[in-house]
């Protein structure tokens, strides 16, 4: 892709999609800029292979899902390296949690949407990606098949199972809050 101005236009048009998909797949809204930059860098490198808006859009979703997957893998690896509370070698005060939550954060935590987003994080990566692509992004089964490179039947199965598990997690969360009250 020789035309930087044209690419900048693509970035400007597509970046809201990339940010919102990354946010939902990773369940966070901060520190997403580096990841979004990575998405567009990968897109740029492969730009010459793409013609037409629909394949570009599908490809962009695919890169975004892959970048989110790589980030999730890094997070999981970091988590595994963290010292457990049972580890006698670590210093006890380093294991304590930080200051209490911001009251505003605590209030936001009570919202249904936040519960749903937290529960999305309890699903498998594939289930989460299918739900985000289908419900939030309005992609068809066929488009999701292309994005995730899995058969349509598997897409449907992930959607069905993911939806069931999400409902169960949200229900449990609401019910436990009710019990606490």
């Amino acid at each position: 892709m020789a035309n930087a101005a044209r690419f900048q236009e693509i970035v400007a048009n597509q970046s809201p999609v990339v940010f919102r998909v990354l946010a939902r797949l990773l369940g966070r809204r901060d520190n997403l800029e580096d990841l979004a930059q990575e998405v567009f860098l990968r897109l740029y490198r492969a730009m010459d292979h793409f013609r037409g808006e629909s394949s570009l859009s599908t490809f962009l979703y695919r890169i975004t899902v892959n970048v989110a997957h790589d980030e999730q893998t890094r997070i999981n690896q970091r988590r595994q390296r963290l010292t457990s509370l049972d580890d006698p070698k670590s210093v006890w005060h380093e294991r304590l949690s930080g200051p209490t939550e911001d009251p505003l954060d605590a209030m936001i935590q009570t919202q249904f949407r936040t519960i749903v987003e937290e529960c999305l994080g309890l699903l498998s990566e594939r289930e989460r990606a299918c739900l985000v692509m289908f419900y939030q992004e309005g992609r068809s089964y066929e488009a999701i098949r292309q994005i995730l490179d899995i058969p349509v039947g598997t897409v449907k199965a992930h959607l069905h199972r993911g939806r069931q598990r999400l409902r169960a997690h949200v229900h449990d969360r609401l019910a436990s809050r009710e019990r606490e009250r």
Binding site: A2, A4, F7, Q8, E9, V11, A12, S15, P16, V18, F19, R20, A23, R24, R29, L32, E33, A36, Q37, F40, L41, R42, Y44, R45, A46, D48, H49, F59, R62, I63, N66, D70, M107, I108, T110, Q111, F112, R113, V116, E117, L131, Y135, Q136, G138, R163, L166, R167, V170, H171, L174, A175, R177, E178, R181
Partner: protein, 139 residues
């Protein structure tokens, strides 16, 4: 059954509740006990995009951080060098004659002539040197 809010009322205030304007314990209680309302709220919540916007100047920063493309002059030099290398290899193969044939017989599949092998090598060399981007789908 402790629900004291009906489905119709709940769905009337759905948007306010989902925006967080109404932190209503009754709504939570109803959702915990009413599968159809929970389904309806889930549908709306999942379909509603996460409210996040790219930071200001993001597109400009992305373009500024892109790797530089080789200029057309540099590209021409690469093409000339690769072509010269190809010709040099072909000439070397012809000059060495039997030695080259013996060497090639050790490495090339049977039935492939020296000339064909040289052509294949030249094409491969040209392709490798002139390719800027070789990855179709990156992970």
């Amino acid at each position: 059954m402790t629900t004291s809010i009906d489905c119709e009322t709940l769905r009337r205030y759905r948007d306010e509740y989902l925006r967080g304007d109404v932190a209503n314990e009754l709504v939570d209680a109803h959702l915990a006990e009413c599968p159809s309302c929970l389904e309806a709220f889930l549908d709306v919540t999942l379909a509603r995009p996460t409210a996040i916007a790219p930071p200001l100047g993001f597109a400009t920063r992305v373009v500024a951080n892109l790797p530089p493309e080789p200029s057309s002059g540099a590209r021409r030099v690469i093409l000339v060098i690769s072509a010269l290398l190809g010709v040099a290899m072909a000439a070397l193969a012809m000059t060495l004659g039997d030695t080259a044939v013996n060497l090639r017989q050790l490495t090339m599949p049977e039935g492939l002539s020296v000339e064909a092998a040289v052509v294949v090598e030249c094409v491969l060399l040209f392709w490798i040197l002139s390719c800027r981007r070789g990855v179709l789908i990156e992970r």
